[in-house]
């Protein structure tokens, strides 16, 4: 199929597909940016623009120096910068966005060969770096006029402390993102709509398998080990709606570079990431551990692929023994 095409045509087709993927990601992220702008005003917009511009600048320079080609055309840097900004508090210093975006591009993406070969999700790595280096700033969430005034702490922190009581909260404010938290990842309703849109888009549908595996395992864990007293269903809802979990499932996890090729492995990859995310939520020391879980899942993906290859090999050997293959005589 592809072998008959000249190499330059293949490269052109791949780069067009990559650009289309990233532009779609950007388009799907803009509603969340709008939510952030609506709740927090121009500071959210400023942070997103600074973060995206930093990522683009770093990629333009490092791509030229290290990879010796122009890599900014695929729009991936803009997406990385925007996603990092969406996970940060709206009122934080722009330097956080700059540092996170620069780390994601210069340390995680470019040294490994660019968009299609980065072993870790760059935005997740950038945010994890910020979490480790500046936890007091990353979790200093900005006040908003829309936030439910009952409790000024984020949902994830309340769940971690075992202090969450469902009667103090109404579900509509949680779904609309009117809670204390990152500027763009709280709009659960918007994220759910985006997930539905992804299912309609050709090419995104199979990528969403990882998201479903992730959300299913998170929901199952929350049901089996509830952190909301005497209410397992509320535990599932609150775990899925708190922090950046839903955002990570829908936006970060289907990153094309680290997504396995086969549907079954995709499902397994999502499930493994979900299990790690819930483990870190229950045992971790930060309010938001989702990015660490994604990085761990990225790191263990080769093991998953290897296990699949070994299974395939064992199955082939068994089939050969049963069939008494031609080579057995030799």
């Amino acid at each position: 199929m592809d072998e008959k095409q000249p190499r330059w045509k293949q490269v052109l087709r791949e780069s067009r597909a990559l650009r289309r993927w990233n532009l779609t990601s950007l388009g799907l992220s803009l509603p969340l940016l709008f939510v952030g702008y609506y709740y927090y005003g121009s500071s959210a917009l400023r942070l997103a623009v600074i973060s995206a511009l930093t990522a683009v600048a770093c990629e333009a320079v490092a791509g030229r120096l290290v990879l010796r080609r122009r890599t900014v055309d695929d729009w991936n840097a803009v997406v990385i910068g925007l996603w990092i900004a969406l996970m940060l508090p709206a009122g934080c210093s722009p330097w956080l966005g700059v540092t996170g975006a620069a780390f994601a591009v210069l340390v995680v993406k470019i040294p490994f060969g660019g968009t299609q070969s980065a072993p870790f999700i760059p935005a997740a790595a950038g945010f994890a770096f910020l979490t480790v280096c500046f936890p007091e700033r990353v979790f200093a969430y900005a006040p908003s006029a829309f936030v439910d005034p009952i409790d000024s702490r984020p949902l994830a922190a309340l769940l971690r402390g075992g202090q969450f009581t469902p009667r103090n909260w109404n579900i509509s404010s949680i779904l609309l993102g009117q809670t204390v938290g990152p500027m763009g990842t709280g709009g659960i309703l918007m994220i759910a709509v985006v997930l539905l849109v992804m299912l309609l888009l050709h090419g995104r549908r199979s990528a969403a398998l990882a998201s479903f595996g992730f959300l299913a395992i998170c929901a199952l864990t929350a049901y089996l080990f509830p952190r909301v007293e005497n209410n397992r269903i509320a535990s599932v809802w609150m775990e899925l709606c708190s922090g950046s979990l839903a955002f990570a499932a829908v936006y970060l996890l289907p990153d094309p570079a680290s997504l396995p090729a086969r549907w079954f492995t995709r499902l397994g990859y999502g499930a493994m990431a979900g299990l790690l995310a819930m483990l870190l939520r229950y045992l971790g020391s930060y309010d938001e551990n989702i990015c660490f879980a994604l990085l761990l899942a990225n790191a263990s993906l080769p093991l998953l692929e290897r296990a699949r290859a070994e299974l395939r090999h064992i199955r082939a050997e068994r089939a050969e023994k049963k069939g008494g293959g031609v080579n057995a005589k030799a």
Partner: protein, 315 residues
């Protein structure tokens, strides 16, 4: 395997200081990383690490070349550790009486330097095959390389992580992650990538440093490499592994074992490609399709992996 009586001399030894850069123990060979990652967060700590490692290398390598080479390998490694302990234990007591805080900041990693992997690797890969002067030169090169890399890493982590240099406050901001071991790995990775980029750029401009000239192997080394590669490819399991890694052999395919030894090597380098070329027709018959270039590349990488430092002598 046939043993060589005299020590092997390669062009590497004529550019021993270049080895400190091109075959840097930390940035290229990636040995002795644990103490650097864990405790080299300041220049002071990095200096102490470098000094202890240098002392160990400069004692152990010549001693190995002169005395320990006659021992079997299983006995040599404990000997390196015994020498390390004899040096490090008094040093720890001495430093505790002089500068207790630095010893406390090094935690368990200062006594653990007695079991230094840099020493074990260099002695086993190099000193055991060489005469004492060559071993001493290698020890000096590796000690210099280790010290340069450790000091640079310590400087960067202290400057960016603590906002100070040699204990003097320089900045109000700091990146806390760089104190942590993952910060150490990041700094090492970035420096290693930077070094590779620098060497690539220099070689593109015709500037070749140190061990790059190891390609100009002495005749003895060339023969040794050919022999080793031929032996490796004679082994059925290794051959199967290499071919499978190169994507030639399907899991269900079988390679009949090679019954006759491969022909004696001729004179032209590189030997890995020669061996592969010799073996290629047989394997092509076995799998009834031509071997791609990937086999040659895989063989070459296998050879480079296993033959670091000559590796000719059975130990």
């Amino acid at each position: 395997m046939q043993k060589h009586d005299g020590p092997l001399v390669t062009a590497k030894e004529r550019h021993w200081l270049g080895d400190a850069i091109v075959a840097n123990p930390i940035l290229v060979q990636a040995v002795g990383l644990a103490p650097v990652v864990a405790v080299a967060t300041t220049v002071r700590a990095a200096l102490l690490l470098a000094a202890v490692t240098a002392a160990l290398l400069l004692i152990c390598e010549p001693l190995t070349a002169v005395l320990l080479r006659k021992l079997p390998a299983w006995l040599r490694v404990p000997c390196y550790f015994a020498i390390g302990l004899a040096l490090v234990v008094p040093l720890v007591f001495l430093l505790e009486s002089m500068d207790a805080p630095i010893v406390a900041s090094m935690d368990i990693f200062l006594p653990l330097l007695a079991l230094n992997s840099v020493v074990a690797v260099r002695c086993e890969r190099y000193a055991v095959l060489r005469a004492a002067p060559a071993a001493l030169r290698d020890a000096a090169a590796n000690a210099a390389g280790y010290a340069a890399a450790a000091l640079l890493i310590g400087f960067l982590r202290e400057l960016l992580g603590h906002g100070s240099v040699w204990g003097r406050h320089t900045a109000d901001w700091n990146v806390r992650g760089l104190w942590m071991p993952f910060g150490g790995f990041l700094v090492i990775g970035l420096l290693a990538a930077g070094l590779k980029l620098l060497l690539r750029t220099l070689s593109e401009h015709g500037i070749i440093i140190g061990a790059h000239r190891a390609m100009e192997l002495a005749p003895e080394d060339r023969e040794v490499r050919k022999e080793k590669t031929r032996k490796l490819f004679e082994d059925a399991e290794t051959r199967r592994r290499v071919l499978r890694a190169a994507g030639v052999l399907l899991p269900e395919e079988e390679i009949p074992p090679t019954t006759e030894p491969a022909p004696a090597p001729t004179e032209e380098p590189p030997p890995a490609i020669e061996s592969a070329a010799r073996a290629a027709p047989k394997q092509a018959d076995a799998v009834t399709r031509p071997l791609p270039d990937a086999v040659l590349a895989a063989l070459q990488s296998l050879e480079e992996m296993d033959l670091e430092g000559g590796g000719a002598r059975d130990t």
